[in-house]
């Protein structure tokens, strides 16, 4: 029985290895026949499932060596939690990815020392945008403040995210201890983990602290981007180049004119309708007068009537 199991395991590893080898070195024909959509799906599938397969394979080896005990369960839960936390961090950094110039500054500044950050960032700006030589120190300081606010907001948001994962872990442990349905497969375990996480997340999202943390990181990120754009704008304006500000101002004027024109058209239409009604009333009145022998209709209206 044990030998059979080893053989199966070996076959499984080989199968997996062959599959990943095939993915890593696909034939050129395979890519030629795949559209962008398919290639994206293929790449995503490979990257996302590879980690899962690796972890599951490790678990399988451990399970093969010994029965499921507390140590193994703790390690399994830790893996799920770390994987989720990593995913959250990736999403956070992707969603609020710092603009390139700021990122370069941060990478060069290991410690969160504002003075060090200031000088490094200033150096980066001067290096990447020589126009900033002309900029006032105060402005650079303002940029540093934006950056510091962003870092603080990011820190708070990551703390929130960590708390959610911790709450999800507690929920999972509770469910594994108290739920009536036993968990007999990895799929069931993963589904339970997803439910626990989503429950913890839904609870957090209802709290004002989380909502503020989310709003704050979004706002600080946007402030940073807006600041960078303002600096670019100043630099372009100094060079006498056209900017989006000019375009926006033209568009706004065009928009205002369009609205005015619409209002005038509406007034003209209302006037036209009023004129029609007036003419109609005059005709009616004139006909009534005619019946009693008079003539009230002006010449223009007579012509229209004819």
């Amino acid at each position: 029985m044990q030998a059979d199991f080893h053989a199966q395991l070996h076959a499984f590893f080989e199968q997996q290895q062959a599959l990943f080898t095939q993915w890593l070195t696909p034939s050129p024909e395979a890519f030629q026949t795949m559209s962008n959509d398919q290639m994206k799906a293929s790449a995503m599938m490979a990257s996302k499932t590879a980690g899962f397969l690796k972890q599951s394979t490790q678990l399988l080896e451990q399970l093969k060596a010994k029965a499921l005990d507390k140590g193994l369960i703790d390690s399994l839960i830790r893996q799920l939690s770390e994987q989720t936390q990593q995913h959250s961090l990736d999403s956070i950094l992707k969603q609020w990815q710092i603009p390139h110039q700021f990122q370069a500054a941060i990478e060069k500044t290991a410690a969160q020392n504002p003075n060090a950050l200031f000088s490094t960032w200033r150096h980066t700006l001067l290096f990447t945008c020589p126009e900033f030589h002309a900029m006032h120190e105060e402005r650079i300081k303002a940029g540093c403040e934006h950056l510091a606010n962003y870092q603080a907001a990011l820190h708070t948001y990551i703390q929130q995210s960590t708390q959610i994962t911790e709450s999800a872990v507690n929920r999972l442990k509770h469910a594994l201890e108290h739920n009536e349905q036993p968990i007999e497969s990895l799929n069931q375990l993963h589904e339970l983990w997803v439910c626990c996480y989503e429950d913890a997340y839904a609870e957090a999202i209802r709290q004002d602290t989380y909502q503020q943390a989310y709003g704050n990181i979004t706002n600080c990120y946007m402030a940073l981007v807006a600041f960078q754009q303002d600096m670019q704008l100043s630099a372009y304006e100094q060079q006498g180049l056209a900017t989006h500000k000019g375009l926006d101002s033209t568009l706004q004027q065009q928009k205002a004119l369009h609205k005015e024109m619409k209002a005038v058209k509406k007034q003209l239409e209302e006037q036209r309708l009023l004129n029609e009604q007036l003419t109609h009333s005059l005709i009616e009145l004139s006909q009534q007068f005619e019946q009693i022998g008079g003539n009230l209709l002006p010449k223009t209206s007579q012509a229209t009537q004819e």
Binding site: F12, M34, D37, M45, N187, Q211, Y214, M222, K259
Partner: protein
């Protein structure tokens, strides 16, 4: 942890199955045709700026068709072809097969030139203009209006403003009360500085909105969805279904900055349908003046527009002839799920004919 009963054999079987699914998926992807969406034939009868008005003629003989056309107003977020993703489960095709001539307003993709478009432009200008075009094209004096999601919010405003042009109104997964306790979108966005967003981006990028939507269920729409990929891609049919949906999900146009700001402020922040005081383009929008028959379609499991948000419609339109249809599905499932495939078009056609 007495309930965790994993054993090596079970885990190995699962991993073997996953590996086999991965292999099958790869083969499926290699042989998959292009991902086609919006395959129902149409005529573009009107174009203006970025928008197009599409006409879909019923597949029934003229004498068997409904006397009034239906005009579908989709949201500015995502694209209209959610109602025509897959030929086998297309709400659009189902309506055509049941004798309705359909007009669909395709808002297109706003660019920098549209940065200052506001709700007045979208409702009083574009939507009204397209409805006039549809009326002229169909030879009718009134039509049935169906608004989907944000398009439903627009349609409600439109019906209140132009009562004579609308015969019956259908709202589908339409937010009305934007501040129900389960409105996660509202909660997540309430501290976001919208003025700063518009100052920074001009038009709000579609990718920005996609991140917000994914943030509503980060695990289910992230890790879990990706891990389930091999399961969805094992056969050509399931792969096409899945990838069509993905294509639609990520086909998210940018939002004209001014209109976006106005929409968030008037509806998400100030909840004007419920609290009153809504004006569009300087004209009061009073939903209580709507006396039309209304069919309100909503999803029981809708996480974007919670059922309670849609159900608030009955109270804000007290003089309408109100009826509703509950679909046991989510926001998108109302249109594409197997449960909804027959129920929704059958109900619409029957209700319009009443």
């Amino acid at each position: 942890m007495k309930n965790l009963k994993l054993d090596a054999q079970q885990v190995q079987d699962e991993l073997t199955e996953l590996t086999q699914n991965l292999r099958k998926s790869q083969l499926t992807l290699n042989s998959l045709p292009d991902i086609d969406v919006a395959s129902t034939p149409s005529h573009c009868i009107y174009k203006r700026d970025k928008l197009s008005l599409l006409y879909f003629e019923s597949t029934l003989p003229k004498e068997d068709r409904a006397p009034h056309p239906i005009f579908i107003c989709y949201a500015l977020v995502n694209r209209w072809y959610m109602i025509d993703l897959d030929p086998e489960r297309s709400l659009l095709r189902s309506l055509l097969a049941r004798g309705l001539d359909v007009y669909v307003l395709d808002w297109g993709y706003p660019d920098k030139a549209d940065r200052f478009l506001d709700l007045d432009d979208y409702i009083n200008d574009y939507l009204d203009d397209c409805i006039d075009q549809a009326l002229a094209h169909s030879g009718s004096t009134e039509l049935d209006l169906m608004g989907i999601c944000q398009g439903g919010t627009f349609s409600l405003c439109y019906t209140a403003l132009y009562r004579q042009k609308v015969r019956k109104l259908i709202t589908a997964v339409t937010p009305v009360n934007f501040q129900t306790p389960d409105n996660m979108l509202q909660k997540l966005s309430q501290h976001t500085d919208i003025d700063l967003a518009v100052k920074t981006y001009g038009n709000i990028p579609g990718s920005f909105l996609n991140h917000v939507y994914s943030s509503l269920m980060p695990m289910r729409l992230g890790i879990q969805k990706n891990l389930n990929l091999p399961k969805h891609l094992t056969t050509t049919e399931s792969a096409l279904n899945y990838l069509r949906m993905e294509k639609w999900l990520y086909d998210c146009p940018d939002q004209a900055g001014e209109a976006f700001k106005e929409f968030i402020t008037l509806f998400f922040r100030e909840n004007r349908f419920v609290n009153g005081g809504l004006t569009i383009g300087g004209t009061d929008v009073n939903l209580s003046e709507i006396r039309h028959p209304i069919l309100n379609i909503y999803g029981q499991h809708d996480h974007l527009v919670p059922a309670d948000s849609s159900l608030a419609l009955k109270a804000v339109c007290p003089h309408s002839q109100y009826s509703e249809l509950l679909v046991k599905a989510g926001h998108i499932g109302v249109f594409v799920s197997r449960k909804a495939h027959k129920l929704v078009p059958d109900t619409i056609v029957k209700w319009l004919a009443e």
